[in-house]
Subunit: 184 residues, 2 copies
Amino acid sequence: MSSHDDLRTIALAEFATAGYSATSLQRIAELAGLSKSSVLYHYSSKEALLEAAIGPAIDRMVEILTPLEGFDFSDEGRTAFLEAFVDFLLEHRLEVHMFINQGPSLVDVPVIDRANALVMRLAEFFSANSASLEEKMRFGIALGGAAYMLCTVQTLDLPVEPRDETRAALLSIMGQLLSPIRIR
Amino acid sequence: MSSHDDLRTIALAEFATAGYSATSLQRIAELAGLSKSSVLYHYSSKEALLEAAIGPAIDRMVEILTPLEGFDFSDEGRTAFLEAFVDFLLEHRLEVHMFINQGPSLVDVPVIDRANALVMRLAEFFSANSASLEEKMRFGIALGGAAYMLCTVQTLDLPVEPRDETRAALLSIMGQLLSPIRIR
DNA sequence: CAGTTTCCTGACCGTTCGGTCAGTTAGCGT
DNA sequence: ACGCTAACTGACCGAACGGTCAGGAAACTG
């Protein structure tokens, strides 16, 4: 893989696990086997590296969400969206963990503002119709909980494989949390 | 309130919202209307301030958890524990948010190691008997989700008052997530 | 072959970090 | 009046931070 892509991957992993502020360019350079100057050759600043790390995931989620806005979440398309959402979480768990847990603390960084706006749009989408307090709380728990759980698999002794089983379980849990109509 | 307690409160709020690494002693000093030297007069180091900020909450959770370990979570004491757990989350939401979301990134700090050990004990307690993958995932989502949601109330347009309603809703959601036996 | 571009580097810069220390001020018991 | 202590401060320190810059090595291009 090219140094350029290497750096993006390494930076994403470090930003997500150690935190953006706590991750130095020196650290990323060492993990990539390069000098700090080389990191700044490929990405003009630390912020540019952050943009490269999480920007594509934000764009992808916007792609998924945009055509659905305006439709009711309780429509028949709900299951299909839930599957797309869960697959997105599984594929971009590091990115989601990043802008969920560090978004509020990194305001004024452009790419983070985009991420925070996306989270707001998601919240509005899920609570589009008659959202009670509990339903809003359910959305917050589902989103923050999935982001946390998917990045703490090793700490909690959770196997990430087989992927299919993880996906099925996550679908079940998220469906239960986000379904506006529940069995009492 | 004394400067000593002021500093603890301010530091906790900043650590939880902006992150430990991203919060400077200078910043805390300014919020408290003191000089950085005064902060280090009351607390011998930044780590000591962190210990004062989240240590008591860790001790309190250990107090709640310890007498229950060894008992099955599905016993009749389950509801009582769930209520105590939810009340703990509501009272110490900033502290929980801190060591849930920054715990993995601050290893080798003694008080954080204590927090991480506590999370492990909690996980083992909840999954004491026959925990399937999905049940472990449910625990992770419940814990991380509650920590996230309770600290993102303003972003998600969630009212923190009335407290009773929040508590009841949280009890309902956490009970549904953590109950080992569910309606299929 | 010469010229250009790509990739990479060490030296260096200004700033901020956590932390130390000597010293000042104010209150309080005697 | 005195000394003692708690609260607080500015000056200062070495280290690490993000970032700049001039230049070296290698590969591609005419």
